[in-house]
């Protein structure tokens, strides 16, 4: 007897999908680090942020980046999403196990599944508003935040950093022999640190935007 998947044209596909899922995940992590740092320039004033966004637009990095990130997000969704419990039976089994087990990492995987779905929605809405009001300007962004869009961005920030922190932690757990106790500390430092940083930046946008909205 022979397992028939071995007869398929490319039995190495699972390995490649797994690696692509990891690499695209890491690319998105680095993108989000850069994105957070660039947004944080608002703390130094609207002119600093505008200067940076103009420089990025002149080099077409902002435009190309937006298109590129959409592709990376989609590839990541397809490759990493292979593990999603799509059948009702699988959903019942994983839900029963998670509820019974009271094991934080198992719960956090479910959090990652749910946040992954939410990110698709958040990113679609965010990109629509950013790309239809191009170029990116501090006053424009601030006004959008202050026009009650801040209530959209606040949960988006939490969802994204949760997904990213848990995902990065799981990459290290799956590929390296590093001590998980230490990795867990780094995971929560990263999640809480970036949520705090991003909410602070959002507050700054909101404060600037309120001057224009009123």
């Amino acid at each position: 007897m022979i397992e028939q998947w071995k007869l398929l044209k490319n039995p190495r596909l699972a390995a490649r999908f797994d690696l692509i899922g990891m690499v695209t995940g890491l690319l998105l992590v680095f993108f989000m680090f850069g994105h957070a740092m660039m947004l944080a320039t608002i703390v130094f004033g609207a002119e600093t942020m505008d200067g940076l966004s103009m420089w990025l637009e002149d080099l077409y990095l902002a435009q190309a980046g937006a298109v590129g990130i959409v592709f990376v997000v989609l590839i990541h969704f397809v490759t990493a999403g292979r593990k999603l419990p799509l059948r009702v039976n699988e959903q019942k089994m994983i839900w029963r196990l998670t509820r019974r087990l009271s094991h934080l990492d198992t719960w956090l995987w479910l959090v990652q599944v749910v946040t992954g779905m939410l990110i698709l929605l958040f990113v679609a809405v965010h990109l629509y508003f950013v790309l239809t009001t191009f170029p990116i300007e501090a006053v424009k962004s601030s006004t959008r935040v202050a026009s009650n869009f801040g209530y959209f961005y606040a949960p988006m920030i939490i969802v994204i950093w949760l997904h990213l922190g848990i995902g990065l932690y799981r990459i290290f757990v799956k590929w390296t022999p590093f001590n998980r106790k230490i990795l867990k500390v780094f995971k929560w430092l990263l999640i809480l640190g970036f949520i705090a940083d991003s909410l602070l930046v959002l507050k700054t946008f909101w404060a600037i935007g309120l001057q224009y909205v009123n």
């Binding site: 699972a14 089994m93 990492d105 022999p177």
Partner: protein, 225 residues
């Protein structure tokens, strides 16, 4: 769900408690045990939601109400008894759980030497008692019955270390280079947290995963039919 009441005394463990229930209250109660010392793995069950060994669990460490369930994933025999044997035999066959070598065995020859580090590392992984707790607590194994689980991947890691086994990366890839093997693990690590023998499962799963990723990009072997 059946309910039993039992008076607790110092040193009472779940294994003894279950035996007392069977002797005094319900002779039809089914559960497995052999060694009573955490060596055979027979008395594994879900104890208040978490897989564990009944003989290693003191009742004093649990709340007053204890809920016991059979291990999921494995075929149910009855009550708390499951058939882990069939699962582990199939896994061992799939993993090729023996030394693969083309060297002819000479019973008169002195045994080949291996380094002390290698021997100790193999011994560490050989401590698996096949209780099934890692499999029962694994998200992937609960959802997908073909997944080899941490026990299967640990077994592969054991043979990867063994210098007597002549299998190379591509040979192991045939066995675990799929979503049923190394790439099915989602990294939830309940196996690592729950293993009653404290096996280093996280590092072994990562070892197999790295080896399989490397094998996936190695040149393909030419096979003639």
């Amino acid at each position: 769900m059946q309910e039993y009441q039992l008076e607790e005394y110092p040193g009472l463990n779940l294994y003894i408690a279950l035996n007392k229930i069977r002797e005094e209250q319900d002779s039809s109660l089914q559960f497995d045990f052999v060694c009573r010392a955490g060596i055979c793995g027979s008395c594994a069950m879900v104890i208040n939601g978490r897989p564990g060994l009944a003989c290693k669990t003191l009742v004093s460490t649990l709340p007053k109400t204890i809920t016991l369930n059979p291990l999921p994933v494995f075929k149910l025999v009855g009550d708390l008894s499951v058939d882990t044997g069939t699962w582990f035999r199939e896994m061992a066959q799939r993993a090729g759980s023996w030394i693969h070598t083309d060297k002819e065995f000479d019973p008169e020859a002195v045994e080949e030497r291996m380094s002390n580090e290698q021997a100790l590392e193999i011994y560490e992984l050989e401590r698996c008692i096949e209780c099934g707790c890692c499999v029962a607590s694994c998200g992937t194994a609960n959802m997908r019955e073909d997944f080899m689980g941490a026990a299967g991947l640990n077994r592969i890691a054991r043979f990867m270390i063994d210098p007597r086994d002549q299998r190379d990366g591509s040979d192991y890839f045939e066995v675990v280079g799929s979503d049923d093997g190394a790439f099915g693990c989602m990294g939830l690590m309940a196996c690592d947290d729950i293993c009653p023998k404290d096996l280093p499962l996280q590092s072994q799963l990562a070892r197999v995963r790295r080896a399989m990723a490397k094998a996936a990009f190695a040149p393909k072997k030419k096979v003639a039919f």
